[in-house]
């Protein structure tokens, strides 16, 4: 686990991309960046953006609290609301199971006409009484800092550049949910072990500690329980707990 090297102070809100030419953790800026599987809970907290390299066109990344950098993300959720903010701007509200009220917004503007059309079609489905639509959303996150009368408000993570909004069947969707939970847990575990590629950066930026990580773990479990049979999940978890307890005869070091 990483100690917060900004000992105690509030992490600075980053509303502009800061350049990092430090470790690139094997990120090749010329490759297509993979879509990191994230929960809305985690992504909503990923308010720090970084730019790899000093070139204007270098890829930009969101720093995930679980210690990785994401240029592109994949979410599986339900669209609960479609709003046409203007002629050229459609907004979709995306919720994930096990998250309570928490949701994230995706925007489709004039530069994503296909996505906008698709969202409109989903909007029509709502108007015809369809329940929430299961989607897999792939896109690049952005951070929006609203202007308020007192200055700047809290930064908000959104998908400002969705590349795909895929309507999928329940089976496919479930598989993606399981994938997202798994990847989230793996990142949490790696961060706990102090081996996350951007672990120190995340600790510094967000003051993330074990409690924070436990939060993401909890959301992941809640998500699995909502989508799959709770009993089955509990049983599998029990096996994991047992294995872990047996493996450590002495208390683990934090």
């Amino acid at each position: 686990m990483y100690t917060d090297s900004n000992s105690g102070s509030d992490s600075e809100e980053q509303s502009t991309d800061q350049s990092t030419d430090a470790d690139t953790e094997g990120i090749n800026p010329n490759d297509r960046q993979p879509a990191k599987r994230v929960t809305v809970a985690e992504l909503s907290d990923a308010t720090v953006r970084e730019q790899l390299g000093r070139d204007e066109r270098s890829p930009k990344f969101s720093l995930l609290p679980t210690g990785e950098r994401a240029n592109r993300v994949l979410l599986a959720g339900t669209i609960t609301e479609i709003e046409e903010l203007s002629d050229q701007n459609t907004r979709a509200r995306i919720a994930m199971p096990g998250h309570g009220d928490q949701a994230i917004y995706a925007y489709a503007g004039q530069y994503q006409p296909d996505i906008a059309t698709q969202l409109d079609q989903i909007g029509d489905q709502f108007n015809q009484g369809q329940p929430a639509v299961r989607v897999v959303v792939i896109g690049k996150p952005g951070v929006y800092v609203p202007e308020t009368e007192d200055g700047q408000g809290d930064p908000r993570v959104q998908i400002s550049n969705p590349e795909a909004v895929l309507e999928v069947t329940e089976d496919v969707w479930n598989r993606h949910i399981a994938d997202i939970a798994e990847d989230t847990f793996e990142r949490v575990e790696t961060m706990l072990n102090g081996e996350a590629p951007a672990g120190q950066a995340a600790a510094d930026a967000y003051g993330i500690d074990e409690d924070g990580l436990e939060g993401y773990h909890g959301t992941g479990v809640a998500m699995l329980n909502r989508v799959f049979d709770e009993g089955m999940i509990e049983e599998a978890m029990a096996q994991g707990i047992e294995a872990d307890t047996e493996a450590d005869a002495t208390p683990a070091e934090s």
Partner: protein
């Protein structure tokens, strides 16, 4: 035979066999210049190294005869060539100069290799007898055995899993990759040589299970250019095969194309967003309809793009298991193994449980530390 060894032979030949009118022996050739000459002539005329050498013998003799002040040459070009040929056949085995597959870097070059056939493709064009993947310790590349070459030679069929000594294979550059071609001038002999091909390079083939998150432009029903390309020096019909853009081939302009079905997919597992190409058969296997049906749909809709739309509707987001071969920039599907969305909840659950345990332990340790601290404070 490689250019270097052929050049060396020529230099030695001229040094020892050229007799002059004044009784002296030898015409000095600069070996580096000879290598360059061979390379240039071989490329321009698409000749193997030893054929090129025979041509150069004549050229060098002619050049020296035109140079004033140098004693004339008595030995005739024919005699020199005869000696060269004899030397060539006597030294055939030593002259075999295999190159590593990873070091192929010259279009139209003639090379020797020793490789294992790791993969043979089923789906090939009429003009191709066999096509597949070969490997040596340095890597893998494609091999093409032309139908015409098969007809006009004794070259045996390649068998998967066999290792071959191939003399005078031709290098063909395509989109940045250097592949091998077996022509009628090639010599292919099975060999017992054991190559140490590492697991991943073994067939460059492996299995992926990932969701398809994008079906890129250029997918669906496409047309391929049927123009016979002038490139082929064996006189074998080689069709261009480039996908047409609005009936336009980048090389040949507006042409009649032939329909084909394919998918240019992005399959992304969170670690890598890979380009994966599904060819005709693989596409049919994945989406459940083939070229004929695709043509019908396009015909009915008066629009070829409906095929791509149908494909998107069918596969986007789905987890697909495929066996692929790695061609550096992209994976090409050899076989679609399955489409199934079953998740391994046991594994995810176990991981979740391990973490629950890990978090609990941390708290226990902290609590213990606090209690210890309090006890110390009290004692003080």
């Amino acid at each position: 035979m490689s250019y270097e060894s052929t050049a060396q032979e020529l230099v030695e030949l001229f040094a020892s066999e050229v007799e002059r009118t004044d009784g002296s022996v030898g015409l000095e050739l600069n070996v580096d210049e000879v290598v360059e000459d061979i390379r240039r002539v071989a490329n321009n005329y698409s000749l193997p190294a030893d054929e090129t050498a025979r041509t150069l013998i004549g050229q060098y003799i002619a050049k020296s005869e035109n140079t004033e002040g140098i004693p004339g040459i008595e030995t005739s070009v024919e005699d020199l060539r005869a000696v060269f040929n004899n030397n060539g056949s006597a030294e055939a085995v030593e002259a075999f100069d295999p190159q590593r597959v990873s070091s192929l870097d010259t279009d139209n070059a003639w090379v020797d290799v020793v490789v294992e056939v790791t993969d043979l493709f089923d789906d090939t064009h009429n003009s191709i007898h066999q096509k597949g993947v070969v490997a040596d310790e340095s890597g893998t590349t494609l091999v093409t055995f032309w139908a015409k070459s098969k007809q006009e030679s004794d070259i045996p069929d390649l068998e998967q899993g066999e290792t071959y000594r191939i003399e005078s294979a031709k290098v063909d550059e395509y989109q940045g990759s250097y592949n091998l071609q077996i022509n009628k001038a090639s010599e292919v002999t099975p060999t017992d040589a054991e190559l140490d091909i590492d697991a991943e390079g073994q067939s460059g083939t492996f299995t992926l299970t990932r969701p398809i998150i994008e079906v890129r432009n250029g997918s669906g029903l496409i047309k391929r250019c049927q123009e016979v390309t002038g490139n082929d020096n064996e006189g074998e019909p080689q069709t261009c095969g480039r996908p047409l853009n609005n009936d336009r081939c980048a090389d040949h302009g507006i042409v009649e194309g032939e329909f084909d079905l394919r998918i240019k997919a992005v399959m992304d597992d969170g670690q890598e967003g890979a380009s994966v190409i599904f060819g005709t058969e693989a596409t049919e296997s994945l989406v459940g309809f083939g070229i004929e049906e695709a043509k019908q749909r396009a015909h009915d809709a008066l629009d070829t793009s409906v095929v791509a739309d149908d494909i998107r509707a069918e596969v986007l987001g789905e987890f697909v298991t495929v066996e692929v071969t790695d061609y550096d920039e992209r994976y090409v599907v050899d076989e679609v193994l399955g489409v199934d969305q079953e998740q391994d909840l046991e594994s995810v659950g176990e991981l979740a449980g391990r973490l629950t345990s890990a978090f609990a332990e941390t708290k226990t340790v902290e609590a213990g530390a606090e209690a210890g601290g309090e006890a110390e404070a009290e004692a003080a």
